[in-house]
Symmetry: C3
């Protein structure tokens, strides 16, 4: 339903704009993912901050352009920080992205993620198991579309193929490489990139589709010379940093 050419051209534009604008992305993310997420954001031109202290997160979010809320390594402090951060994001009219990590493994976390849906995330980035826990549905057929529509958000479902929908439009992205699943925090870092893209692209469906295309293409480029997941983790950051429009146009496989 989405014009694929539009997603690719938007990817080129978003990447250029990120490098010029250097948006500030505040990340409430799990301790496993903090370092990698920061390095991926820096490679794309964005400026990460990572504090989760409830007392000072309000002023960090107020000084940022967008917020990422990732539920990995969920604890009391992060729960309090999320509330304060979302309040600050609402006041500052800043978009935010929800990444409901591992909610299929912990009922409390799933409940909390469902509550967060009422606070209007611009995009929810998740995998099939997490979608099941969030929606109660299998991600087959038009379940993602129905869920996106009923919650007025974008669902960005990543896996072997990525599917992005706002309920009316759907983009399918088949870029990427199996090595991406062998590096911890790769999905978390992808959510952070989507958050950064929201600053420079007003349509969140386009921002999410384009940025997952960018990340998938970077993964393919990196996989060509990587000797395994260890060197790949650095190589995808190199590839993202060096990615140009010509490579994106040649490699993007969006339908």
């Amino acid at each position: 339903m989405a014009p694929p050419i539009e997603v690719t051209e938007s990817a080129v534009t978003i990447l250029e704009r990120l490098r010029v604008r250097a948006p500030r992305v505040h990340c409430i993310t799990n301790s496993v993912a903090q370092q990698y997420t920061a390095n991926v954001l820096l490679a794309a031109g964005a400026l990460p901050s990572m504090t989760i202290s409830p007392e000072e997160i309000g002023s960090f979010v107020a000084g940022s352009d967008v917020l990422l809320v990732n539920l990995g390594t969920f604890d009391t402090q992060r729960r309090a920080a999320i509330g304060a951060a979302l309040d600050a994001a609402k006041i500052g009219q800043k978009p935010w992205v929800l990444d409901p990590v591992f909610i299929e493994r912990a009922p409390d976390r799933a409940r909390f993620a469902r509550e967060l849906l009422s606070r209007n995330p611009a995009v929810v980035r998740l995998n099939n198991a997490e979608f099941g826990a969030l929606s109660g549905c299998d991600p087959a057929g038009d379940a993602p579309e129905r869920f996106a529509q009923s919650h007025a958000t974008i669902i960005a479902l990543t896996g072997t193929a990525d599917l992005v929908t706002d309920g009316a439009r759907r983009a399918k992205i088949v870029n990427g490489d199996p090595l991406m699943a062998l590096v911890t925090a790769m999905g978390c870092a992808g959510s952070a990139l989507v958050a950064a893209a929201l600053v420079v692209e007003p349509d969140p469906f386009v921002a999410a589709s384009a940025m997952l295309t960018v990340f998938g293409v970077a993964g393919e480029v990196a996989a060509e010379d990587a000797g395994g997941p260890g060197s790949f983790a650095g190589a995808i950051i190199d590839a993202l940093h060096g990615l140009d429009g010509a490579t994106l146009r040649r490699r993007a496989r969006v339908s």
Copy 2:
């Protein structure tokens, strides 16, 4: 005392089984080691989870195959999480590995580690200084054997050479490379690999000996082309991911 050929063949089998079975390894580990531990587990075929929130750790352990308890960056939250995690592991009859990091530097942590011995770890992976703080003995002579026997556990003592004993059997592994000591969390990651091996090998003495052999061989392979500890950190993950039976059989030095 251990038939070396048995350890090597078990290493080959364990590595194959990990890749097929993809066991879930829940890690309570220090914040310095979380990312590296996760990436090493993924490279070996295992699926890591890392939450330390006392409220939800029970459900994570219940959904895992094995538990790792690492005492680095020890704090109130982790202490509570460890109790809840061990309760869940006992109910689910899941084995667990103790890694008493840096207990020679903090008396409280050493006391806590000694208490944990009564909760029946399948394996205790530690270095010489930590063994001294845990047992009150120098790791010379048959001190490791006596300690393993009296606590009905496996002692896996790593260093220039690795020594594994269940009190009756002893394996000595001389694989590895000095660069392994120059990457933070390398020992922590080794403990996590031993935990993963417990899922696919019922004899914890064999699991620990074999997995330390695997890790040491991966280290040797990685050191051949590494330019220093920075590239080595990624290269050992590549080597672990690509390790095959022929390389293991050719390089294993177990006696």
Copy 3:
């Protein structure tokens, strides 16, 4: 004002001494920077520890040679840990380094950093924005000198060029590479290196100037073959580990 040759020769000597002495550096640092800081310290020959538990930090600092206090990801636990750690450092007469990360983004953190100045840090390592928030002045003219003098500390201001002053002397270091700004925790790791140098060089002005020269030269060497910020993050650790006196003397650009 500083004799450049003296800084370069001190850099050579400090690097040699670190490798022999292997000083213990206790780091209270943010969770984003812990792993990278530990690996950079190990590459330079130092032994890092990272616990932030208020209950045991006293015994860790007592067993260390120097302390680093980094305010990134500032929270209640770290605030308590800092107080206990500084008490232990004072009793043990151990020097400490302050790295007031991101204080320009959070007024409470800036206030806390200003309070810490009264506890006599040997060196304050920071960037221009952080200097502004700490001192209330633009870092132009002789503002760094005046601030260093009035607080009886060393100001090490890093950026495109690094400036180190004790109020009377000033060193300007123009080594380094733009890729250093694209790896998270690079500045934090630099502060940790300065802390390590304090153990083997009694003049903190010389220690800070020399160690920032070392790190900048390592960055230049690493940048020569790096494919981007991902591989650069590992390459600078390799370069630091392999750095020799001849390379330092050839490349150091201190005035």
